[in-house]
């Protein structure tokens, strides 16, 4: 599904003062400068799904990406949401506070605020990667959980919904300021930078715009890594990456069990070896590294992982807003009791598009009665902020030509909007090259110069 976006505004040329003004605009606007396509890029020739799940081969990984200890500290913010007070047993979920982490230098340095992607938390694999890379390059790093993460929605979302970019940006902006207060004198900050990958990249663009209006922080460099251009295209691509007909054809049933078998086998191998289970957040992806997976399996992995993220969002929004789609209204306090999977089953049958149509959009329409599906999508996507993005030399973007979350024309939007502030890589799928030597060098070059 593709919403057409407005073409870049070309200045009208006419004789007289307007002509010179036109020339001037032409000279200033970066529209005429072509995006930089990254040439001589070494990366396996493989499907976007494979790149997305398996990431960069070890030989191409930046030495800065290798796991190891860094100097960091965890914090928890209590945003004192009134909705949670009524939710008697919320503490049992352990999600009434929002965690964030700070990697810090002992000397003065710029601070980079880094925002996780869809369903990601500040301790997740890619968030940790960003923290490690930037910390080792000499920056302080404030790592934040995505507004789509259940903990964020529970503890910090002012709307109790995820995906409304302007509102999510407002929440994140408040949290960044609270976090900076909390961090206090731990660090000496010389400048403020901002970055995010995947949906976090979109969040970063909205935060930058808000910051320009409010001026509470003053981010001077912003880097968007693999951001969605059209939110609806992105979620539709991730949902439709496998069709239920294809699942039936391959596995003989509509169950996802067939897919899970190889993954479970390697989970059991680990259990056998170590005598305990490893169920860390990125377990699904990490476990997949040890198994031979077909392209179909990989696409299923993307689909299932996105599906569970969506189920989490649906469930949390249902409980907080008392929608009654998942949990009967008035029974929010009995969640601790048995329910035979019924809440999970219900939640898992929702796609992100359902979430958008049945919860998020109706909520948005309460305050924006004129809003339609199309207008909301544009208002919440990069599409709706083209003029801002085109005019801001501080905002750069790194993207991949084969990114799963882009639709037709999206990469052209990136090229025409950002001009030479866009670096386009010829491979990598969705965020599958974030630890590639070349990508890391390019990112650090941007923040260092």
């Amino acid at each position: 599904m593709n919403t057409p976006y407005r073409l870049p505004v070309k200045p009208t040329l006419s004789k007289g003062p307007g002509f010179f003004l036109g020339l001037l605009i032409l000279a200033i606007l970066p529209l005429s400068v072509p995006a930089k396509d990254v040439l001589n890029y070494e990366y396996p020739a493989q499907s976007a799904a494979r790149s997305t799940v398996l990431g960069t081969p070890a030989r191409l990984v930046s030495p800065l990406a290798i796991p190891g200890e860094i100097r960091e500290r965890n914090y928890y913010l209590d945003m004192n949401k009134p909705e949670l007070e009524g939710l008697e047993r919320q503490r049992r979920y352990g999600v009434h506070r929002l965690g964030f982490s700070l990697a810090y230098q002992e000397t003065p340095a710029p601070l980079v605020v880094s925002i996780a992607g869809t369903g990601g938390n500040h301790e997740g694999g890619k968030a940790q990667l960003m923290k490690r890379l930037l910390y080792r390059a000499g920056f302080h790093v404030l790592s934040l959980t995505s507004p789509t993460h259940p903990e964020f929605i529970f503890a910090a979302s002012s709307t109790n919904h995820a995906g409304i970019s302007p509102d999510d940006a407002q929440d994140l902006y408040t949290i960044i300021q609270r976090a900076l207060e909390e961090v206090g004198s731990t660090v000496e900050i010389t400048d403020f930078y901002l970055t995010g990958y995947s949906l976090g990249g979109l969040n970063a663009a909205f935060i930058s715009q808000l910051d320009d209006q409010v001026g509470a922080i003053g981010f001077s460099k912003v880097l968007l890594i693999n951001p969605p251009v059209n939110l609806l295209t992105s979620v539709t691509n991730l949902t439709d990456i496998v069709s239920s007909d294809e699942v039936f054809e391959r596995t003989g049933s509509h169950s996802l069990k067939g897919f899970f078998d190889p993954v479970l086998q390697s989970l059991a191998d680990y259990y056998k070896r170590e005598g305990q289970l490893d169920l860390t957040g990125d377990a699904m992806y990490r476990i997949a590294e040890g198994v031979e997976l077909s392209d179909f399996d990989l696409r299923m992995l993307v689909r299932v992982s996105f599906g569970f993220s969506t189920a989490d969002m649906v469930f949390v929004s249902d409980v907080l807003n008392q929608y009654g789609f998942i949990v009967p209204v008035g029974q929010q306090n009995t969640l601790i009791q048995g329910n035979n999977n019924i809440y999970l089953r219900r939640s898992a049958s929702w796609t992100f598009l359902d979430y958008f149509r049945h919860m998020v959009l109706p909520y948005w329409q309460l305050t924006h009665p004129q809003a339609t599906e199309e207008s909301a999508v544009i208002a919440w996507s990069l599409l709706g902020m083209q003029e801002y993005l085109a005019s801001q030399s501080k905002i750069h973007v790194q993207h991949n030509i084969d990114d799963l979350i882009l639709g037709e024309g999206d990469i052209d939007f990136i090229r025409s909007t950002f001009g030479d502030r866009a670096l386009i890589y010829p491979a990598g799928g969705h965020c599958g090259n974030m630890k590639h030597r070349r990508n890391v060098d390019d990112m650090l070059a941007f923040f260092n110069n």
Binding site: L256, L267, K272, D278, G281
Partner: protein
């Protein structure tokens, strides 16, 4: 898998106040709003179903474990880490693991897995002597790698189904079958006398507490780590599947 003596286990069940009676849950699902696709959508997570008739109790126990972990275990682990260097903690973990070899040997023999039994015996003898009562794992560098078999697997091997899913207070997720296996395993390691510490003395409370804390220290799982409101379901599914695969081989 952490273990604890039956006496303390019983105490905790009583302390929980719910006993083993299954808690009936009220399901007034008539009140649910249908977004319009609940009927037609193919339920695709049926495979995640686990036989869990004691879910009410289990969720309470899970919640109790979470709180206990947060307010007792983890602070104790932090204290333990603060006062002991890593090599010492490794030695302690090795010591307990060495005792567990007894269960591995017994469980392997009962399944006629003779190779595993021999390996477990070899490790136990080597580590209990050269390895100073099991504090050093010298068998692994000698090429005798650690294997693990337990009584739950043994029951499964002989066709006993896992039975209802069971969250044991303090010990964590299990099943009726594996829970019984755990207690039996505990009894076997208490039956041996290693490094001049007779089994019955290890039943003493301070030793048990030390055992519990040092064992918890070596387990990487943290409650809330999965960061999903469906953590109970996810853990239940993962544990059940992993146990099933272990029994089947």
């Amino acid at each position: 898998m952490s273990r604890i003596t039956p006496a303390i286990f019983t105490l905790l069940v009583i302390a929980l106040g719910s006993g083993c009676a299954s808690t009936k849950t009220s399901q007034s699902d008539q009140a649910i709003r249908d977004p319009g696709f609940y009927e037609e959508r193919v339920p695709n997570i049926d495979f995640m179903e686990v036989y869990d008739p004691w879910e009410g109790f289990n969720r309470r126990a899970y919640s109790f474990n979470r709180q206990f972990d947060r307010f007792v275990f983890l602070p104790a682990v932090r204290g333990y880490r603060a006062i002991t260097p890593k090599p010492l903690r490794t030695g302690v973990t090795n010591f307990w693991r060495n005792l567990a070899e007894v269960e591995t040997v017994a469980a392997s023999l009962l399944q006629f897995k003779l190779q595993k039994a021999a390996r477990g015996t070899g490790r136990f003898v080597i580590n209990s002597t050269i390895g100073v009562a099991g504090v050093f794992d010298v068998a692994t560098p000698m090429g005798v790698n650690r294997v693990r078999e337990d009584f739950g697997q043994t029951f499964g091997h002989w066709g006993i189904s896992p039975g209802p899913y069971l969250v044991l207070p303090l010990l964590g997720p299990s099943s009726l079958r594996d829970g019984v296996g755990t207690l039996a395993g505990q009894a076997t390691s208490l039956a041996v006398d290693v490094g001049g510490v007779p089994g019955d003395r290890r039943e003493k409370i301070p030793v048990t507490l030390f055992y519990a804390v040092s064992t918890r220290e070596a387990i990487p799982f943290k409650y809330g780590q999965l960061k999903t409101p469906f953590e109970y379901e996810m853990v239940r599914f993962a544990i059940t599947e992993a146990r099933q695969i272990l029994v089947e081989e």
